[in-house]
């Protein structure tokens, strides 16, 4: 195990390249247990690629990825599948299986558990659907019958099916209206507190960064440029970071948060 057990994800010297196009070069990032970390960066800076690399969906050309004390890149099959039960990934549009109902979707990860009574499995799936704020009858519906916001909630319900320790969220509020996005922000924050989740969150949404993230990591120049709280971000004088957190949209989001708190 890790000496500092509060570090659950440790990425060191990561290099990702597609052909001659280098996305990440010597990238380091650490995520602590129980925190919500938001990863931001311009389009094409490889935020989603970083998420996919940590979740083991993309093999980097160099570097090491440790999640919950397991070397993701060199672990054997058994260790990997044990690890995969301890994290959950939510893709942008939920990535629900379109031929299954929402409840069946949530039950999919639970089927891997030996001796779980189908009746109880069904009740637990209903509970997860309800935890993410969906109405009970949504469980009988197919993904194509749901709105974008409901699909995201259903995707989150499937991600949480086995009570993972780490949750990876790819642009959770993209494409949602402001009310829906705020509700989703609150949902993430509430669930991460109640279930003790560590959340790795890729986003463009400044309101989400203000409202839920404990720390922010900025991806630029092929690496994690700075990591820190929102207050620390505001003091960074790198031009891109400055523009990002001092632009008109950032100001508006900051004002809104301050009003909420004051």
């Amino acid at each position: 195990m890790d000496k500092e057990t509060d570090i659950v994800i440790r990425v060191q010297g990561l290099r990702n390249a597609f052909g001659t196009h280098v996305v990440h070069e010597d990238l380091d990032i650490e995520v602590r247990r129980g925190e919500i970390i938001g990863v931001v960066g311009g389009s094409g800076t490889g935020k989603s690629v970083l998420l996919r690399t940590i979740a083991g969906l993309q093999r980097p050309t160099a570097g090491s990825v440790d999640v919950l004390g397991v070397d993701v890149l060199n672990a054997d099959e058994q260790t990997r599948s044990a690890l995969e039960a301890r994290w959950g990934v939510m893709f942008q549009d939920g990535a629900l299986f379109s031929s299954l109902t929402v409840r069946e979707n949530v039950e999919v990860p639970m089927r891997a558990i030996d001796g779980l009574n189908p009746d109880i499995r069904r009740h637990l799936a209903d509970l997860k659907i309800s935890l993410t704020g969906l109405p009970y009858l949504a469980g009988d519906k197919y993904p194509s019958e749901l709105s974008g916001g409901m699909r995201k909630r259903a995707g989150l319900a499937r991600t949480l099916a086995l009570d993972p320790e780490i949750v990876f969220l790819d642009e959770p509020t993209a494409g949602l209206d402001p009310i829906g996005a705020t509700a989703f922000d609150n949902l993430i924050k509430g669930l991460s507190e109640a279930m003790g989740l560590t959340v790795f969150l890729v986003t463009h949404d400044l309101d989400t960064l203000h409202a839920v993230c404990d720390r922010i990591a900025v991806l630029a120049e092929k690496k994690v440029l700075v990591t820190g709280t929102m207050q620390e971000m505001l003091r960074v004088d790198h031009p891109w970071v400055h523009d990002y957190f001092h632009g008109p949209r950032a100001r508006a989001a900051l004002d809104a948060t301050e009003q909420d708190q004051g």
Binding site: S98, D126, S130, L131, Y136, A194, M195
Partner: protein
């Protein structure tokens, strides 16, 4: 006095999660220990469900890990007791466990009855009626697409500048040229099979030479064009549906409309027209290859030389057989093209419907071609051709 001790540490073969449910000895209390997770929830639920319905106190201070499934089991017990007017007192929960239990309690769903799944006789009758009108509506929709195609074709004759020549040539290559190898091979083998089977039967009467008539008439009138159409239906109707359907799925068709482009003009006319032009040519190639296959097999099996085959073919087979075969080709082409384009436009915004419509298009196109062929047979028989 409850003397119920469930100790699961013993019967866990591997190093799985351990938990136990023990009474505290004072008749009203239960102590839970260990890891209360989804892995053991079935047994935890059964153990809690077996507790008598009375005021109970649950002590969680020895619980090392609690997840939502564990919290759910405890809350199920709470619900059962509360519905009987009793209470459940949860003590010793850590701060996080208490928070989790509270969250789960607030989210605990109230099962609602979904709509009644049973179907009465009236419902079945209604479903039957709907599928009949649906089938009629489908035929009507195809006729509508035929009209649309003809109208747009007429417009492109009046305004030749709107016609997409490049697209037409491209689709002629896709539909026609690229299908030549498979169609030729298929027809050649059919000719071989006919000669082989025909010779075995006709030899019994000493009428071997009539195998030429058998091959020529069956291939020229029926098999050449019908089998070509079936192959093209499988190849091209599915390609039309997939191409148009994926454009529909990604809202490209809507984008076309907003840009003032008519999908019928841009997508349907070049595709269907290419098929109408190419299918007769493919049919002709298939007929020639079928005769070739028949000639080769007759020579090998019956000793009918190619020269004799040719003489017999010219003498015994009227050119009207060729006409009867070829006249069907444009009709089959229209059927295949229209069914393919129509199915493409029915695709919804999910990948599943794309797959469903593609396979529907192939099945419908092959079926419709065979039905049309039967119609032609009756028609020509009545005319005596």
């Amino acid at each position: 006095m409850i003397r119920q001790v469930m100790d699961d540490a013993g019967d866990q073969m591997n190093e799985g999660p351990e938990f136990s449910v023990e009474d505290t000895g004072d008749d009203r209390g239960v102590t839970l220990r260990g890891v209360l997770s989804i892995h053991i929830v079935s047994r935890l639920y059964a153990a809690l469900d077996a507790l008598p319905t009375q005021d109970t106190r649950v002590d969680l201070s020895d619980v090392t890990h609690l997840d939502t499934a564990g919290a759910w089991s405890i809350l199920c017990l709470e619900r059962r007791l509360q519905s009987a007017g009793q209470t459940l007192d949860i003590t010793g929960a850590s701060r996080t466990a208490a928070q989790l239990i509270e969250t789960v309690r607030n989210a605990l769903p109230d099962p609602q009855e979904a709509e009644d799944g049973k179907r009465s006789l009236v419902d079945r009758l209604e479903g039957f009626g709907r599928s009949v009108t649906g089938a009629a509506g489908y035929v009507l929709a195809l006729v509508n697409y035929l009209g649309l195609f003809v109208a747009r074709l007429g417009r492109s004759i009046r305004h030749p500048s709107t016609f997409r020549m490049t697209a037409l040539v491209h689709h002629c290559q896709e539909v026609g040229l690229k299908a030549v190898p498979i169609v030729s091979l298929m027809a050649f083998l059919i000719g071989v099979v006919l000669a082989f089977q025909g010779s075995a039967q006709l030899r019994q009467f000493g009428a071997e030479v009539f195998v030429v008539d058998l091959i020529a008439i069956s291939i020229l009138r029926e098999l050449g064009i019908l089998l070509t159409s079936i192959i093209v239906a499988g190849r091209t109707a599915s390609a039309f549906t997939a191409a148009i359907g994926s454009m529909k799925m990604r809202e490209e068709i809507d984008a076309m409309r907003t840009l003032g482009l008519d999908p019928a003009m841009v997508l349907f006319v070049p595709r269907i027209l290419a098929l109408v032009l190419m299918l007769p040519i493919l049919g002709l190639i298939a007929s020639v290859m079928g005769l070739l296959g028949g000639a080769v097999m007759s020579w090998v099996e019956l000793g009918i030389s190619p020269a004799m085959f040719r003489t017999r073919l010219v003498e015994g087979t009227d050119v009207s057989h060729v006409m009867v075969g070829m006249v069907k080709a444009p009709v089959f082409a229209l059927i295949i093209g229209i069914i393919g384009c129509h199915a493409g436009m029915q695709v919804e915004s999910n990948a599943e419907s794309l797959g469903r419509q593609t396979s529907n298009a192939v099945v419908a196109a092959i079926f419709a071609v065979i039905v049309a062929d039967a119609g032609f047979s009756i028609f020509f028989a009545q005319l005596g051709i």
